[in-house]
Amino acid sequence: MKQITLKHQILQGNQKIAEKNRKVLRDHSVYMINLMSSPGAGKTSFLEYSLRFLKKHVGIGVIEGDVATTLDAERIASTGVEVFQINTHGACHLDAQMISSVLGSFDLNKLDLLIIENVGNLVCPAEFDLGENLRVAMLSTTEGADKVTKYPTVFECAHAVILNKIDLLPYVNFGLDGFLGALQDLNPKVPIFQVSALSGEGMESWIKWLLERKESNCL
């Protein structure tokens, strides 16, 4: 009877492709963001608002991920920003191979920033490195502050956390202190942006931070 020691990481396939993506983006000085949240938190509205200002400063492309339809890509296209839609037809997250297959559709020489709007899901996307520089996790005030502790991986691995729909705070039972406390325990240094993609409140701080973060990454 033989025993063969492997110590082989499983799911390393995705990781290898993510590193390839990372290299391609680095070679073209493109900064990539992976935006994750549950369905309906407001990712697309958040991007629609952000893009109107960001496109004045940097060349941007967007990759939209959804199980079906091109609805989100159509909304982004209305902002005048180049966008590609990936339909996963059942997969609950984007993976590095899907991103790799779309990267070639952009003229990366013209891009400074590439934003991925991941499939709406607070569980699976956190497990799949896409080759991004920045992971952004979004929660909205209508979802409940307990989602941070209930879905820790996506908030723990985030480089920035967005709390959207703060215009609804007076009308919903969202424990803001509990939310901030949970993040303090899980990911103490993470910058938190309390925003309303609808009214624009808080969006300026987020956009300014993102541009500064991108600049410091390229130095």
């Binding site: 009877m1 033989k2 025993q3 063969i4 492997l6 082989h8 991986t153």
Partner: protein
Amino acid sequence: MHEISIIYSILTMIEESAKENGIKKVSKIKLVIGTERLVMPEALYFAFEQLKREPIDQDAVLEMEERIGRDLYIDYFEGE
């Protein structure tokens, strides 16, 4: 989650290594599963039973060791 993809990856890796090492029948596969990897052992066992293949790993037994953290790897396998 994604236990089916995980088992599929495991069986592919094991079968390749078994061929390289002259093993015709795998009897045991030992995994290390990190608590933060969102993998359900019960779903993994189920997927394993469904995807096992004649003749190489049909009778193989899956053993899992849970560890705190983000590990997810094949520790070793046994056979002859």
